[in-house]
């Protein structure tokens, strides 16, 4: 057993450490593992991986789901626990989560290092991820042309991978959230440049935040990346008008909550949380600039070397079932991926959808996204 049994044991005497002479000497300490490299049939895994997954004897019915931390662990949004219980009881299987901090990049690294994947599928893949991975990694991480039962119910326009590697399970929109007791947000992008909104907007760095990236992509969608007035010109004007750009959504949202500025780039589901908290909804208004919002579908993808591909497909179908969709939407605070989702009656009132969802598809982002972001960086951080 690699690490399960010793994981709690942090009390090794210093002598044990001092005795280490090199890599070989370390083997045998808690948390060490050695497995044959040419484990081609993938059977040799009584081994766990680094994220708490330890297989037991009956591997057939054990499904390992790689995902991002907040899917299972955040106080406000984590459908993970419900999904695990429900899936296990419906399918007589065991579901394990792996939530590496580097998220999807962790698996790219794993594949590139030649280590086993130790997960069957990943939940939480988006278009930008796929573009990035395809650029950096030559091999095939995911199974292409993936089809699962029930995927015919997926709403139009949500499928975002031309190679069919992902099955969308929910979607959301990046929009402005503003405090209407402080200001009335403008109707259009150009309105953000007006003097009355000087210093009013907090956005995020597209290099480190997904909301930040989507908002920049939205400006590219709106203004283009060439011509007389492109997205960089818009951002130059926005900078003139004192836009604030933080690294992560949480820092931005904190500053916004503290009244540092009345508008923040966030999600169109903001009021769902606000009403849960008993906050004043006037301070949590949603604005879709030009009636648009950038759509952010999230998908599931099956790893090329999954040990239980069948079970993984069953899980994906399970995720698309009408009642499960309803739960995901409620617990993940998002919008359903299927036409048949059973939604809570009052859901529409608080979760807002734009008239015009905009998004770049894979082909549009490929070869361009990195340049857009780095041009943006160079403009905003130039010293």
């Amino acid at each position: 057993m690699i690490n399960g049994s010793n994981a709690d044991d942090g009390t090794h005497s210093r002598r044990e450490f001092i005795a280490l002479g090199g890599a070989a000497g370390v083997t045998g300490l808690a948390g060490c593992s050695a497995e044959p490299v040419d484990d081609t049939n993938g059977e040799g895994s009584g081994n766990g991986d680094e994220n708490g997954v330890v297989g037991d004897g009956d591997d057939d019915r054990v499904l390992t789901v790689g995902t991002f931390g907040s899917f299972v662990d955040a106080p406000s949004i984590s459908p993970g626990e419900w999904l695990k219980d429900e899936f296990e009881s419906r399918y007589d299987a065991e579901l394990q989560y792996a939530t590496p901090d580097n998220e999807l990049n962790y698996y790219v690294e794993r594949a590139a290092s030649g280590a086993q994947m130790d997960a069957d599928l990943y939940v939480g893949v988006n278009t930008e991820d796929l573009v990035q991975i395809d650029e950096a990694y030559d091999g095939d991480l995911f199974v292409s042309d993936l089809e699962v039962d029930g995927d015919e119910e997926i709403r139009d326009g949500l499928r975002f991978d031309p190679f069919g590697r992902t099955v969308p399970y929910d979607t959301g929109y990046v929009s402005l959230v503003y405090d209407s007791t402080e200001t009335e947000a403008p109707e259009t992008f150009e309105g953000l440049l007006e003097e009355e909104h000087r210093g009013d907007l907090i956005a995020q760095n597209p290099g480190s935040s997904t909301t930040g990236l989507r908002f920049v992509l939205h400006t590219v969608h709106r203004f283009g990346d060439e011509g007389e007035y492109d997205y960089l010109d818009f951002w130059a004007d926005l900078q003139e008008n004192d836009v604030r750009v933080t690294d992560a959504w949480d820092a931005a949202y904190t500053s916004w909550s503290e009244g540092e500025a009345p508008m923040v780039v966030s999600y169109s589901t903001d009021q769902v949380f606000a009403s849960q908290d008993g906050a004043d909804l006037d301070q949590h208004q949603i604005r879709f600039l030009n009636d648009e919002a950038y759509a952010t579908p999230s998908g599931m993808a099956l790893f090329e070397d999954a040990e239980n591909p069948e079970l993984a497909r069953q899980f994906m179908s399970f995720m698309l079932e009408p009642d499960v969709q309803g739960e995901i939407v409620e617990r993940n605070v998002s919008f359903p991926a299927t036409e048949t989702a059973e939604l809570p009656a009052d859901y529409d009132e608080l979760a807002h959808e734009p008239d015009v969802p905009v998004t770049f598809d894979y082909d549009e982002l490929q070869g361009s996204m990195e340049g857009w972001v780095s041009e943006w960086e160079r403009q905003l951080a130039g010293n």
Binding site: I2, N3, G4, A7, G10, T11, R14, F17, A19, L20, G21, G22, A24, V26, T27, L29, A30, G31, S33, A34, E35, P36, V37, E50, G52, V53, S70, V72, P75, K84, Q96, Y97, D101, N102, N105, Y106, E109, A115, I133, A136, Y137, N205, G207, S208, Q239, V245, D247, D250, A251, T254, E258, G259, E260, Q276, D277, V373, R378, L380, A381, N383
Partner: protein, 625 residues
């Protein structure tokens, strides 16, 4: 610690009795000497073994993992190239006008332009600029605190001294929460200014906010090392100076200052290195317009663009190591030999006599206290307040109830508060136990006289200077995914690896707090003791250790604090929710509202505070420096 063979002298052989072993009249004494010699040899062996062990740990959990990433800057698609560096050095975005020099322009032309209005300093120039300013502010806020702690006696002094470690363990998101609440538009500072009829200040999203936040983290560091140095100033040296006719100011300049300077400079050098390499606080408080090198390393790694990320990290590393190297050179030249350990008597806060000379420094400290209460206390108080404030602004305990609830009902794959607290404490204690011998050995090795020792000393500081993001990536590749050796894939993760990684992050502190003491040791003391027949270990126990003990304890405190606050390596090496620590719990509890995360942050604060107060109470009067 007493069995640590701290062998300080670098001369090959100084055992005075060696040449007379065969003197028949002294056979008894000679027998004793023989035992002493055997013991000496044994001690040398132990020292060598410890040094090898230290090197082993460093190789496995630091140098090798980091090398797997850094090598990508010179090996692109299997071809060795300097192309990445050449491109980087010629990019004005990073190097400003200097890039033109690298690109082959006449340095004089570039210099003339640089003096003009359109100068570009580039990201690297800006990073160095803000680090330099942060260092100045940290020193300005740290030295008065050291003065207060080292020279005055008042109720709660020792507790205050132990609490100065707290900023170290706070995750940046907690500090950001505290800072917005303190220095924001509607923050505490502006309320106070408003009440005094003064105009509000806009600090958020400015360079000033970053500098203050950096001082929040680093001024306590400056204060701690300076206090330690100040307290080890020997009172008799001052008395001698005074008796020779020096006035108090003169005695200060001639006796105290030379011993305190190196510590202040050390704090400054470390502050520069830390602020040169941090980024979350910069973006949270300053915004992207003030982005530093590390921000771009992070983005490049996220984009899987390792070549450029590694190259940038190498540039960052070289600059940081150069600063450390310069400091070590200074330290070696400016150490003052100290021979005693009778500290200066502390003064009461209320002056015994009403004279200007007594009141002036105290009035200065009063002004300092006002500033410090905004920089250090208000943000922490705001954090605590945030942890008991609900979404509707009313006071509530719901965030703490979340913690209890998670503890009770949390699933096995979720982070639960108590295991996180327990792991943090266990890892901190274990990693301090590992970091201490590592640090002491490196301190001994680098204070001996040989060519290139400052280079070795600098390299031993590398864990401070390497981009944390790349260390994390290296650990993932080098340890977690494992290495193929003879058809087997050897992987290391879990508690042992976490402890080792924490020890590697913390041990440079031990080196830096112990080495100056060793360096300034009066060699004649040791030689006389040996000449009088004291064994080597006796010298260690009775002379060397007491003299460097404050440094050892100070280093241990830092090692514990580093471990308590460490995030990057822990999350990479943790084998699952059962190896998570408090900082990871905080990160995982960040939701749309920061309440639960701040509640966990307060738990981290309280646990750390109690630990340090206890450590100090147990450590006796020498400890907790």
């Amino acid at each position: 610690m007493s069995d640590d063979p701290v062998d300080d002298d670098g001369t090959p052989d100084n055992t005075s009795g060696d040449t007379r072993d065969d003197d028949p009249e002294a056979s008894a004494a000679s027998g004793q000497r023989r035992t002493a010699r055997v013991r000496d040899r044994l001690e040398r062996r132990v020292l060598a073994a410890l040094a090898l062990g230290t090197l082993g740990v460093l190789l496995v959990v630091f140098y090798y993992p980091v090398a797997t990433v850094l090598v990508e800057s010179v090996v692109v698609d299997g071809v060795v190239t300097l192309g990445v560096f050449v491109e980087l050095l010629r990019d004005p975005f990073y190097f400003g006008d200097l890039a033109r020099v690298f690109a082959g322009e006449n340095p004089l032309t570039v210099a003339r332009d640089f003096l003009g209005p359109d100068r570009r300093i580039g990201i690297i120039g800006f990073t160095a600029y803000q680090a330099a300013l942060s260092t100045l502010v940290s020193v300005a806020l740290g030295v008065p605190l050291a003065y207060l702690l080292a020279r005055f006696e008042f109720r709660g002094r020792r507790t205050l001294r132990s609490l100065t470690i707290l900023p170290f363990v706070l995750p940046s998101i907690m500090v950001a929460v505290g800072f917005v609440a303190t220095f924001g538009r509607t923050g505490t500072l502006n309320s106070v200014l408003g009440a005094l009829g003064l105009p509000p200040v806009e600090l958020m999203f400015t360079l000033e906010a970053i500098l203050i936040a950096h001082a929040f983290y680093n001024a306590p560091l400056v204060a701690r090392v300076t206090t330690a140095a100040w307290e080890s100033v020997d009172a008799s040296a001052i008395e001698t100076a005074r008796s020779l006719g020096a006035g108090p100011l003169r005695a200060f300049y001639d006796v105290v200052a030379p011993q305190v300077y190196p510590a202040v400079l050390m704090g400054a050098a470390l502050t520069f290195v830390f602020t040169f390499g941090t980024f979350p606080i910069v973006l949270a408080l300053g915004g992207f317009q003030l982005a530093t090198v590390e921000v771009f390393i992070y983005r490049l790694v996220r984009d899987l663009n390792y070549a450029e990320a590694a190259a940038l990290a190498v540039v960052e590393l070289v600059i940081s190591l150069a600063v450390l190297f310069a400091y070590l050179r200074y330290e070696a030249k400016h150490t003052v030999q100290s021979g005693g350990v009778r500290p200066l008597p502390r003064k009461p806060l209320v002056p015994p006599v009403n004279t200007v000379r007594e009141w002036l420094p105290r009035a200065g400290l009063g002004v300092y206290a006002v500033v410090a209460s905004f920089v250090f206390i208000a943000p922490i108080a705001s954090m605590i307040l945030a942890s008991v404030t609900g979404g509707d602004g009313a006071l509530t305990l719901e965030h703490y109830r979340f913690l209890l609830d998670r503890q009770e009902t949390g699933a096995a794959f979720q982070v639960r508060p108590w295991p996180a607290i327990r792991n943090s404490l266990v890892f901190a204690a274990a990693s301090a136990l590992v970091a201490l011998p590592m640090g002491v050995v490196i301190a001994v090795v680098t204070t001996r006289e040989y060519l290139g020792r400052k280079l070795v000393g600098t390299l031993a500081m590398a864990p401070f200077a390497v981009s944390g993001i790349l260390v994390g990536l290296g650990l993932l590749r080098g340890l977690v995914f494992g290495v193929e050796i003879g058809g087997w894939r050897i992987a290391i993760a879990g508690s042992a690896a976490i402890v080792a990684a924490h020890a590697v992050s913390g041990y440079p502190f031990v080196v830096r707090t112990v080495a100056p003491g060793l360096e300034s040791l009066d060699r004649s003391l040791i030689e006389s003791a040996r000449a009088l027949g004291a064994s080597r270990s006796r010298v260690v126990r009775d002379i060397e250790l007491p003299l460097v003990w404050p440094g050892v304890v100070a280093g241990a405190a830092f090692a514990v604090a580093i471990s308590m606050g460490e995030f990057t390596s822990t999350i990479v090496l943790a084998t699952g929710a059962d190896a998570y620590t408090m900082p990871i719990a905080i990160e995982r509890f960040i939701g749309r509202r920061l309440g639960p995360a701040t509640a966990m942050g307060v738990v981290l604060l309280v646990v750390t505070a109690i630990s340090f107060v206890v450590i100090e109470r147990l450590g006796g009067d020498y400890s907790g420096l």
